[in-house]
Amino acid sequence: MTIATTLEEACAAMADTPEAALLAGGTDLMVEVNHGHRSLTDVVTLDRIPELDGWERHGDSLRLRAGLTYAAMADFDLAQLVPGLAQAARTVGSPQIRNTGTLGGNLATASPAGDTIPVLAALDAIVELRSEHNRREVPIADFITGVKRNDLRPGELIEAVRVPVADGPQEFLKVDTRNAMVISVVSLAMVVDRANRQVKVGLGAAAPVPRRAVDAERFLGDLIDWDGDSLPESETVNQFGKLVMAAASPIDDHRGSASYRQHAIGVLARRALLRCFGEVSR
């Protein structure tokens, strides 16, 4: 058992005992342990490492360290800089879970329904990885490789995630079967990048891996009145919704059918768009 206090210590321990489980918030790992699905032989804890806590701003870039809890992500100051992430974080689980679960954990677990993931996808997040002797960076689209599968190599941990500081409205919406402690039926993150005149859309629980609604984004790019003040046409909004729907490939499960999820994500897309560009945002 290694209760690491530095990144170096953690990485060395991981190299030493490759079978050790990494423990930050524990909100995913401990469920498996409690249910007997995972047996621990060795553990390296990451929650006492200052280098993994907090965030920093470098100009237009935000570096969110992997140990940031959902509660911290919703912190007022950070929420100003990346509101979409704050919105997503606020919807996760419960206060108890938000106090403990981490950004790094959400990424590493790589569940298709992970709440931060569509936001990070829409932000074109870069994942910083580190091992004893190596560092590398992976765009989020390449980091999550399948359902609950990630690109972590042996001995590697997630150190931080880099996202741009918000340059326009951001929205995170989800469809739920109850109002707390729930895994979303579908979710959607929208990031408006005014400088590049782009609207970026990340889909949640609608594909095995993080997905962007690329066609929808492309379609929308020219049709937004970036300089002026007019609302998108209703036909634009509708077509946008349809294109987002087409980008989704959800599954049937006990939370919802694929067809309902597909429909719902279209609804979320239209609503997010209207919130970002409609009356509400004025």
Binding site: V175, A180, H254
Partner: protein, 792 residues
């Protein structure tokens, strides 16, 4: 009933017995018990929904260090079951397994982890049979019946009853509707998992501490299966962390640990995992229902033909009673002039269904109340008005011989329609907003015990001694509903003392007289009445002793504020404790008993035993909803609920029951589903089996109506189950009002509403619900004469 005198304790919001230790975290639930040298038990459960057990090899498990004992079905072969007619369970399966999760072996070890690992080393050789997963499949021919004692194939039970004359009844109708409904199964999900500890003394006496609602029934089952006289077994109900009907069967784990304790000579504990609790189940039956109802233009029901098809799961549990219940209480709210009920229950290879809050009545009540809403629309009547026009009258009999004593349903409906503004809102709210109404009734304790006998349903013993201490002993079980507090309150009321001075000893088969248990909302009424009887006997002795000293007429004495007071002539008073000493000196050691047996009511036909009750509670609910028409997602904005409780012994407790019932009803209608794939529970966790959080609860406005029923202690009726029943149909009716989509199913899910809206858009009927009923021939009905005071 002392209505002349002002009640001092009853009707007040007093402190609740047992709550102090609960807020301090000091309450000893079963899993909190630790005994020296205690072993931990885990149960191996079937992974097949239906299979013969060819062989079980426990050898490897026995060899594991830390394992003390391993048993299988042959160690506990005697069958048992809660109902005498369905003694179809074995603590560990012997010949075959009938569901995924069926227990087949058990390990007792030094710690839970060792026991768990040892389970994996037990080799069971199964020979699978085809499995049955639905009512349809249960009705089909089968080569391997789930139970050989079934009525026919996998049909566990048929019921067929006809009251009055159906042909005549339908001929008198101006409108006839036929509707089909489905109510999905759901489960109790108590916060506390089932847990128990067993110990066998050197004298061979067995003690079981268990989280159970019915220690008496557990006691009987243990005696049968362990082949020990009941007097050699002690069952103690630990504080129960929620029951709702899920802890009213004797369970395999309770029997298993007793056996383990007997074999090892050491205490044995078992706590079920949350997943195991989902498989234990004994919850709400999924029921398919077909209702054909005839109504006159004025809204009176001339005839109703009701059919219910129950998916019973793998064992009988209370299922025969459940089947009857799906046909019993339709009749006690609005008069039904002629009534026919056909019901059947099939065995399926899934966890058994049994009693969950409302026990077989929420499903038909949903059907009835939604159908009435449809009738109201057909007739152009306001649905509240339709109900108000034709309500059962007090002191009459329903068509199926159930006696309605008091009925506060009119006041309930009037209260909530006024409070909610129903009249002005119904069919008038903007699109997406809707309001709906529904009513219901429930019994205050089943009129008959689970096993036939002529003995009391509840017994109370009392002791008062020269120190002024008053102790009341009763077999009743406090499952959080506060039955201990009700006992204390009634004793305190009768004796004019502070309820804090009453010691309550309950739910211990060595110490307390038999009470049948906390189910069917019987406890306040039955233990309450028994307690009143016990106290009055003691009062007589107290008054006799005091009268002698005061030289007055014992009739002139009264107990008040800790004193015995003479009310006539010269005012004299003596402190309660002194009066007790005088009585103890005069009569010797003071004690008394009280018992209660419900009056024999109801008809004299087979099946008449289910439904009768000393009185019925009544509830009415208006639900206001807001529905997102793009997604079908809806919110219940407000519930206005009125409940005829007869009289509140403690209004805070009653309100707590009404609020809790409303919450549970919302859970059922909005999100709860017990669903399976090939016998495997799809969602056996608190994450996936959704129940409402604080953020899912609406505003609730609650009215308690007191009708002072002569059969209840101080006029009381039940409050723990009735208020749940109208929630589901009120919400479904509100959804229809909001978006024009009929959901003839529970749960009412956003996806279903969405589908209905799509159908509506494309010009089709927007109704969502079952389209067919199975082809099955019910037996010829038992024809029962109309009772004398029945509606025409």
């Amino acid at each position: 009933m002392d209505d002349a005198k002002q009640l001092k304790v009853v009707g007040q919001t007093g402190a609740l017995v047992g709550s102090l230790s609960k807020v301090m975290g000091e309450s000893n639930y079963a899993d909190d018990l630790f005994l020296p040298r205690m072993l931990y038990c885990r149960i191996l459960r079937s992974t097949h929904p239906h299979a013969r057990i060819r062989s079980i090899d426990i050898g490897p498990a026995l060899k594991r260090k830390g394992v003390i004992a391993v048993i299988t079905g042959k160690d506990l072969p005697i069958p048992y079951g809660i109902l005498p007619v369905s003694q179809d369970e074995q603590a560990l399966c012997v010949e075959k397994v009938r569901m995924v999760g069926d227990p087949v072996a058990a390990v007792a070890a030094l710690d839970e982890e060792t026991a768990e690992v040892a389970l994996e080393e037990i080799r069971v050789d199964y020979e699978p049979f085809p499995s049955v997963m639905s009512v349809e499949e249960g009705l089909a021919e089968t080569e391997e019946q789930i139970h050989e004692y079934a009525d026919r194939g996998n049909i566990h039970k048929f019921v067929s009853l006809e009251f009055g004359n159906m042909e005549e009844g339908f001929s008198q109708a101006d409108h006839v509707r036929e509707d089909i409904f489905h109510y999905e199964g759901n489960t109790h999900m108590p916060m506390e998992q089932h847990a128990a500890v067993a110990k066998c003394g050197a004298d061979g006496r067995v003690t079981l501490w268990s989280s159970t609602q019915t220690p008496h029934y557990v006691h009987r089952a243990l005696s049968k299966v362990l082949e020990l006289p009941a007097s050699r077994i002690r069952v103690i109900a630990t504080p129960v962390g929620g029951g709702f009907g899920g802890k009213t069967d004797p369970f395999p784990h309770e029997i298993v640990i007793c056996k383990m304790a007997m074999l090892t000579g050491r205490p044995v504990k078992i706590t079920l995992t949350r997943e195991e609790v989902f498989y234990c189940h004994r919850g709400r039956h999924p029921v398919l229902m077909w209702v054909r109802t005839g109504m006159k233009q004025d809204g009176s029901i001339t005839a109703m033909h009701f059919r219910s098809y129950l998916d019973g799961g793998a064992y009988g549990s209370y299922g025969v009673a459940s089947t009857y219940y799906t046909g019993a209480l339709q009749t006690v709210t609005y008069p039904i002039a002629n009534y026919k009920f056909e019901g059947l229950r099939v065995f399926t290879n899934k966890p058994p269904c049994g009693p969950k809050r409302g026990h077989g009545t929420p499903q038909p009540r949903f059907a009835l109340e939604v159908q009435l809403d449809k009738f109201a629309e057909d007739l152009g009547l306001n649905p509240a008005e339709l109900r108000l026009r034709h309500l059962m009258q007090p002191n009459t009999q329903a068509i199926n011989h159930l006696t309605v004593t008091t009925i506060g349903l009119k006041e309930c409906i009037e209260k909530i329609t006024k409070a909610s503004g129903f009249e002005s809102k119904h069919r008038r709210l903007p699109e997406g907003r809707g309001i709906g109404i529904a009513c219901s009734a429930y019994l205050t304790g089943a009129g008959l015990p689970i096993y036939w006998n002529k003995m009391p349903h509840s017994g109370v013993q009392m002791k008062i001694d020269r120190g002024g201490g008053v102790t009341v002993f009763c077999g009743s079980t406090d499952i959080g509903q506060g039955s201990d507090s009700v006992l204390a309150a009634i004793v305190a009321e009768e004796l004019g003392i502070d309820p804090d001075h009453v010691i309550v000893v309950t739910a211990d088969t060595d110490l307390t007289p038999v009470d049948l248990g906390s189910y069917s909302s019987r406890v306040t009424l039955m233990t309450g009445n028994a307690t009143i009887e016990a106290v009055r006997t003691l009062k007589e002795k107290l008054f006799a002793a005091v009268a002698e000293v005061f030289q007055c007429d014992p009739e002139s004495l009264t107990l008040s504020e800790g004193q015995v007071v003479s009310m006539k002539g010269k005012k004299q008073e003596v402190p309660f404790t002194d009066a007790v000493q005088w009585a103890e000196a005069k009569f010797g050691t003071l004690g008394s008993v009280g018992s209660y047996t419900p009056p024999r009511r109801g008809g004299k036909f087979k099946g008449a035993g289910v439904g009768p009750s000393p009185n019925y509670s009544y509830s009415a609910c208006v639900a206001e909803v807001e529905c997102d028409q793009e997604t079908g997602i809806y919110r219940v904005l407000k519930l206005s609920l009125a409940h005829d409780v007869g009289r509140s012994i403690n209004p805070i407790q009653v309100m707590g029951q009404v609020e809790g019932s409303a919450y549970m009803g919302l859970g059922e209608v909005m999100m709860e589903e017990q669903v399976f794939r090939r016998g495997l529970h799809k969602i056996p966790s608190l994450l996936d089996y959704k129940s409402p959080t604080t953020l899912d609860m609406p505003e609730m406005e609650i009215f308690l109506i007191e009708t002072d029923d002569p059969n209840g202690p101080y006029g009381a009726k039940e409050a723990g189950q009735g208020p749940l029943l109208p929630i589901m149909p009120a919400v479904a009716n509100a959804i229809y009002d909001a978006v024009g989509v009929r959901i003839d199913e529970v749960p009412v899910l956003p996806e279903k509403i969405f589908k209905g809206l799509q159908k509506l858009k494309s010009g089709k009927s927007s109704r969502i619900g079952p389209a067919f009923i199975p082809e099955v021939e019910f037996p010829e009905p038992i024809r029962v004469e109309r009772p004398e005071t029945a509606p025409n």
